[in-house]
């Protein structure tokens, strides 16, 4: 069987057959966010890379509709031709639209532009039992029916395969620059806090153990180096065997980062948002980071790592886990889509 379907109907048919046969499937775009959620064993891997068409782009409406296997870079390219962009998306090369939506990967510009879920207007998925389901709408504003786009964002391929997405685009800014400074962690965090206090709507303030990166966006007069900073590139992100994403109340982030630095752990703290990515080397470190996050009023989930690192990727079951399980059962009645992967799933029976 062709496991790289080239139309949504083929995708639905493949899933319908897998459901009928009880074959467990994994869904793969570029594979850059595949190591998320609880490990499970798949009988086969279905690729979205046959679904790469640009379906509709209306520059004057600032919306673009693409298939799920198209890359974020391709979307940005099509948008840029009309001086538009998708600022909520992450910048990693090769990553697919379906991938970043399914994994809810927001880009570093989140502080100004919000999380990626806010950019998804309409979504079309092929469910586990091979139905094609659309939710949301292509207009920039809609409250017509239940919010399937938000439900699908971050569902990790457990509810369906995102075969098509309509995204809200934004004008490219007149000016945008990353600024950098280096110094010890405490000085960088203080400098970052100062930028938050001084500036109206900075785009990104990224603190790491020995550097601070600030992105400013807007009219040229506003895009000037904050005191103590120089123009430079984007940060590279923490490096380790695995990565944990911490979410804490924004005000708690500097204290959490200071503690990580004291423990010698590499991190990237998005000041003002409460998000921090932490490099981890072992399941023990995952647990330690989670304890630290909980101490600061937040949570931690493993967003990259091999199977042993992801033995407990989410921590305690989320509130409403029974609701989540019923939604999962409705979208994937045979339980073939990445079973056990999502938070709230009970251990998969052997």
């Amino acid at each position: 069987m062709d496991l790289t379907p080239s139309t949504r109907k083929e995708m639905a048919a493949v899933l319908r057959e897998a459901s009928a046969a009880g074959r467990v499937v994994d869904i793969r775009g570029a594979g850059l966010h595949a190591r998320r959620g609880r490990p499970f064993t798949a009988d086969e891997v279905i690729s979205t890379r046959g679904l790469t068409r640009l379906v509709d782009h209306v520059p004057d409406d600032m919306t673009i509709t693409v298939e799920g296997g198209m890359t974020v870079q391709e979307v940005q390219g099509a948008a840029a031709a009309h001086r538009q962009g998708w600022p909520q998306a992450p910048a990693e090369p090769g990553v697919t639209v379906g991938g970043v939506l399914a994994a809810a990967v927001s880009g570093r510009r989140r502080l100004r532009f919000g999380p990626i879920r806010d950019s998804l207007l309409e979504v079309v998925v092929a469910t586990g039992d091979g139905r094609i389901v659309k939710g949301g709408g292509r207009t920039v504003k809609t409250v017509t029916g239940y919010d399937l786009p938000r439900l699908l964002t971050g569902s990790l391929g457990t509810l369906g395969v995102i075969v098509q997405a309509t995204l809200r685009l934004w004008p490219l800014p007149m000016a945008e620059t990353w600024f950098g400074a280096t110094g010890d962690d405490a000085a960088m965090l203080d400098l970052g806090q100062q930028v938050i206090a001084d500036l109206h709507r900075p785009t990104a303030i990224v603190a790491s153990p020995s550097a601070l990166h600030v992105c400013l966006t807007g009219v040229p007069d506003d895009v000037v180096a904050p005191p103590g900073m120089q123009p430079g590139g984007e940060p590279h992100g923490p490096v380790g065997a695995g990565l944990v994403q911490v979410g804490v109340p924004p005000v708690a982030l500097p204290a959490l980062a200071r503690r990580l630095a004291a423990d010698g752990q590499d991190y990237e703290a998005w000041l003002g948002t409460g998000i921090c990515h932490v490099a981890v080397a072992s399941a023990g470190e995952v647990a330690a980071v989670r304890d630290l996050a909980a101490l600061h009023g937040g949570h931690a989930q493993v967003i990259d790592g091999d199977d042993p690192l992801r033995a407990d990727p989410f921590g305690p079951p989320p509130p409403g886990a029974d609701i989540m399980r019923r939604i999962k059962d409705a979208f994937d009645p045979a339980g073939i889509l990445c079973p056990g992967r999502f938070a709230g799933a009970e251990a998969v029976p052997a």
């Binding site: 004057d60 409406d61 600032m62 919306t63 001086r83 809810a104 919000g114 999380p115 879920r117 806010d118 469910t127 139905r131 094609i132 389901v133 659309k134 939710g135 709408g137 292509r138 207009t139 920039v140 504003k141 809609t142 409250v143 017509t144 029916g145 239940y146 919010d147 399937l148 938000r150 439900l151 964002t153 971050g154 509810l159 934004w170 004008p171 490219l172 800014p173 109206h200 709507r201 807007g218 009219v219 007069d221 506003d222 979410g247 109340p249 948002t273 409460g274 998000i275 937040g298 989930q301 509130p319 409403g320 609701i323 989540m324 019923r326 939604i327 409705a330 979208f331 938070a343 709230g344």
Partner: protein
């Protein structure tokens, strides 16, 4: 099951006392209506003041198998807060407490009965505001805003309610209390918070809401532009955004509406203009200066007659008063109105305005337009006298044709008011059977019993698998 003959009223009185359980004819009649033209049937009303009381009421309703409709201020325009079949109304209007503002994290927990405008008023001294600003913001409640995922003029740049609700506390249909979301971003699991916002009270009763507060912009400029054709005004809407400027708000008003509003507010609006644009830009001083120049240039390219820039806060407030009292001003024309909330792609504005003009002229009804032009969110208001059955019938027919025209142009049914009862049976225009069934399954995952605000949002016959939602027939005698 209706509330009668269950003994439920006695249990509720034991819990809340006689003053907070309303059973009289007057109360039941009042709570059978909201801001829409839907007439429902209310069996009983409770006025809880705490989450614990809501939870206890819900447990009793659960035990009695009674249907529950949550209600905020009752300003909704689609019948979402109207019980249709003699069920229990849980009014959250007395739950008006706000926690202390979490200034460091720019957020605040509030009870659902808190009025929208009261939030911004309460936090203004901290340099913060609550961005979504429905025109009814002096009267509508946060709980209702959450139910309908409410919008408002400033949602063009700032986003709708769901983007400003960080968390909700909700009493589930069986009385259990659950907290979804919170100050810490991106909690593990599906985004149930995102589903609850905009679910129109069909998944539970929201009892506390964590609102994101937004810094007040350092600079604001408000402009009133007037045009001799709707097409010119629409071209400016398109042109400004094409230049890369997203104004904080970009509102249009047609001549009929301008006449009604000016008589009411006396804001010095040019009543001979075919269309007015109210444009607000905000941000840093440099951003505002740049955006203002773009707006003025594009407006002049499209034949603007005058550009009136508000000189001070008083004039700005007056211009916004003219915009936000527009619905009320319709009362000077006719005693009632029938309003739609469709959205079209921004590129279809001229086309849809022409279509609305043709439809309402053909049906012989008066239509006034005031709407969020920047995001294509229309509000054609058909003025009518409901005591005139012929006019009412024509208004209904015109409304129906307007909805269909919007959908045919690639639009959708509602931008910010929700579906309720009134748009419910239009859902198959935008969603097919499988789409609607999937939505029914999401709803059922929250409310297995089908007792939460039944007969709303999803059309008759929509089922999740083999098990139907509550029998989604509009009861006989319901007037839509």
């Amino acid at each position: 099951m209706t509330t009668a003959a269950t003994g439920l009223a006695d249990h509720l009185r034991d819990l809340l006392g006689p003053d907070r359980v309303l059973e009289g004819d007057l109360a039941r009649s009042l709570y059978s209506h909201d801001g829409s033209i839907v007439d429902g049937a209310c069996g009983l009303v409770v006025l809880p003041e705490t989450t614990e009381e809501v939870s206890a009421c819900m447990r009793m309703a659960h035990a009695a198998g009674v249907e529950v409709t949550p209600r905020g201020s009752g300003t909704g325009l689609t019948g979402g807060a109207v019980p249709l079949d003699g069920g229990l109304v849980v009014s959250l209007a007395r739950m008006r407490a706000m926690d202390q503002v979490d200034v460091a994290n720019s957020c605040v927990w509030v009870q659902p009965g808190v009025l929208n405008l009261d939030v911004s008023t309460a936090v203004a001294h901290l340099g913060l505001h609550y961005a979504p600003d429905p025109s009814s913001q002096q009267a509508c409640s946060i709980g209702g805003n959450v139910g309908t995922n409410a919008g408002g003029p400033h949602c063009l740049a700032y986003g709708v309610t769901v983007q400003h609700v960080m968390g909700v506390e909700m009493v589930r249909p069986d009385g259990e209390v659950v907290v979804l979301g919170g100050v810490a971003p991106d909690p593990p699991g599906y985004d149930l918070r995102g589903v609850v916002v905009g679910a129109e009270g069909t998944v539970g009763v929201v009892t506390r809401v964590l609102l994101r507060l937004t810094p007040l912009p350092p600079d604001v400029r408000t402009m009133l532009l007037d045009f001799t054709t709707v097409a010119d005004a629409s071209a400016v809407v398109q042109g400004v955004i094409a230049e890369g400027v997203i104004p904080a708000a970009l509102e249009m008003m047609d001549r009929n509406m301008t006449l009604a509003v000016e008589e009411f507010v006396h804001a010095g609006l040019p009543t001979d203009a075919a269309a007015l644009l109210l444009v607000e830009v905000d941000g840093t001083e440099a951003e505002v200066t740049t955006a203002t120049a773009v707006v003025e240039r594009v407006a002049r390219e499209h034949g603007v007659r005058t550009v009136r820039v508000a000189r001070d806060e008083d004039e700005r407030a007056l211009l916004w008063k003219a915009r936000k009292t527009a619905f009320g001003a319709v009362a000077r024309v006719k005693p009632s109105y029938y309003l739609h909330d469709c959205v079209v792609p921004r590129t279809k504005l001229v086309e849809i305005m022409e279509a609305i003009g043709e439809i309402t002229e053909r049906e012989g009804v008066m239509c006034l337009n005031v709407f969020h032009a920047g995001d294509g969110n229309l509000h054609p208001i058909i003025a009518l006298d409901r005591s005139d059955p012929d006019e009412t019938a024509r208004a209904m027919r015109a409304g129906d044709q307007i909805v269909r025209a919007c959908v045919a142009m690639g639009g959708t049914l509602s931008g910010e008011h929700g579906i309720g009862v009134e748009k419910r049976d239009y859902m198959p225009l935008v969603f097919d059977h499988d789409d609607l069934e999937a939505q029914a399954c999401v709803r059922r995952a929250f409310d297995h019993s089908g007792r939460m605000n039944p007969d709303k949002v999803l059309p008759t016959g929509t089922r999740c698998g083999e098990v139907g939602l509550a029998d989604a027939q509009v009861p006989e005698g319901t007037w839509i």
